[in-house]
Amino acid sequence: MSKYKLKKNNIENFLNELREEYSVFAPIESDGTVAFQKLDDVKLPDISLKRTDRPPKEIFFPHTEVILSFDDKNAESGEYRGKPIAVFGLKSCDSKSLHILDNVFLDSSYTDTYWYKRRSNSLIFTIGCNNPLPSCFCNWFKCGPFDSTHSDVAVTDIEDSFILEPVSEQGTEYLAKSKYLEKAEEKDIKKAEALKEKAESDMPQPPDLKKLKEILDNNQNDKLWEELAAKCLGCGVCAFSCPTCYCFDIQDDSRRNKGKRVRIWDTCQEPLFTKEGSGHNPRPSQKGRTLQRFMHKLSYMIETQNNFGCVGCGRCVTLCPVNIDIRDFIKKVLQVKGDK
């Protein structure tokens, strides 16, 4: 498949062209926080190529979303009705996270209309990580800094230009018609390949996770869980920053006879999450809640979708106020059992 080159001084034109067909999101830094933002202005802000602080799920699964607006007479769905969405600058871990969430929201029994409406016909540009961060561990989960499996276009930053390689049919079609691309030269392609190799070899070798699920499944009362939970504040920052955590709450907000039914991100780390009307709470302790989050990622999701639910983006590692590091936990689990 042919590769293209996009000169960086053309990025604004390229994204503006993309905006004719798509609603375009890209990582923008504002006030020290990098997050995916919708590009609205003709004059585009600088695109940041850092890992975003906020997870990309919010593009397709907003933190707060109206699912129903109602008054005395009518109720209307708040589902997305805008242009298809294009995202420029997702990292490999993040585009994989969208695939994991597709498996949740678009599973065979029920389609989540709100996710589906934003996600269908979306165009994903995944950019390779030239310099993976110390907190990055995507290569633990059959992914890598340049993995483009769950993308439409793979992008490599070669300083003065981007190299664009179509991955999906939709990506191929789009790139073929863009006015701002030129054919990539051999030396550019070589440069991109070298960056890929370097990034891949820069990342530490991952541990063997083949036995992880089995060990976890058989050791739910282990002391390791207690140690982990004793440290945890239950603040939920790991879940809110996680690109694959999808738990939500549904709340009604109304005044007089007008109102909205909204869904809001929620977290299993919150004691009220499972508390029932009767007062009974099946997960009354932090141990149960910590176990739930880690088991969901490292065991349950293997059963439900044959994937680890963690993509190794490292956001929780960076943001946890008490320095809980899921990598350390996994290593401990593998270690302790290995000694037995």
Binding site: Y110, S120, I250, R261, D266, T274, G277, P282
Partner: protein, 279 residues
């Protein structure tokens, strides 16, 4: 692939209201579809989300049987915002419903078997649905003996009492109503559900048993069933969990890798054991 939007409630109207318990905290409402084209079919054991715009939604087991046409029955314990709102509804008022949700009692697998129903408190709702279904003239011949054990704290807390007392006189079902402590004027059984089950349950040969009620009742009933020889595959229960979406997305009703809302609420004891579930 885009199917209908499962979050949008279907409009229904309150057809009839019954006060169930002496303390008036349990109330049964029969609902009818405003647009009959939107009526759905269901199986005993399934549940629905009842929806009050401006207040929210809550899940309830369907207490009516699919063989009873023209209404859907739910029994509501007044305990929070939504359930209080449901208690305030009058006949003719409109609300929303989402469903039917979840799995159901595997009535096809029960064919040619004796069926024992054990209920406690107001966990008996979907057992009423199942009993009416099994006793329907179209189905009754497919099943063996039907034994029903239902316990409540006192006569005033016993739901569907008039109907269950009528069933005591029916030939095709063995009804056993019990209360926890003796009360003047109560001439039926007295005692906790596990003990009564031990006394009246038929043998486990070719039998299946549903146990629905407070976890503590189930916990003490299970050893009795083991004693009677029921295998873990022949014991079923229906679980309750806090839920929001009801369609396996919102993430709060899971037990291990299973969601009570889509993989349940009906589980065999064998399945629960695999999930490390403890009553």
């Amino acid at each position: 692939m885009q199917a209908h939007n499962s979050y949008i409630p279907i409009p229904v109207r309150v057809k009839k209201i019954y006060i169930e318990s002496e303390d008036r905290l349990l109330r049964t409402i029969d609902l009818e579809f405003i647009n009959p084209d939107q009526a759905f079919d269901y199986k005993p054991g399934q549940f629905c989300q009842l929806s009050l715009l401006g207040k929210g939604e809550a899940p309830f087991g369907i207490a009516s049987s699919p063989t009873e046409k023209g209404f859907l029955r739910f029994t509501v314990n007044k305990i929070g915002l939504v359930t209080t709102g449901l208690h305030m509804l009058k006949e003719g008022d409109e609300l929303g419903i989402r469903g039917p949700l979840g799995n159901y009692y595997p009535v096809e697998e029960f064919k040619n078997k004796n069926v024992v129903l054990v209920g406690g408190g107001f966990g008996v709702t979907t057992l009423r649905s199942l009993a009416v279904y099994l006793r329907d003239p179209a189905h009754r011949a497919d099943y063996g003996d039907i034994t029903f054990i239902y316990g409540a704290r006192n006569p005033g807390a016993m739901i569907y009492r008039n109907e269950f007392e009528k069933w005591e006189n029916e030939e095709d079902i063995d009804m056993n109503l019990t209360i926890d402590k003796p009360v003047k004027g109560w001439n039926k059984k007295v005692g906790f559900v596990p003990n009564v089950t031990k006394e009246v349950a038929p043998g486990s040969d070719n039998s299946v048993i549903m146990v629905c009620g407070p976890p503590i009742m189930i916990k003490f009933t299970l050893p009795v069933l083991a004693e009677l020889g029921f295998s873990k595959d022949s014991i079923y229960t229906s679980l309750e969990r806090r839920m929001k979406c009801g369609i396996g997305k919102c993430g709060r009703c899971n037990i291990g890798s299973k969601y009570v809302c889509v993989d349940g609420p009906v589980f065999s004891y064998r399945e629960l054991e695999k999930l490390n579930y403890k009553f």
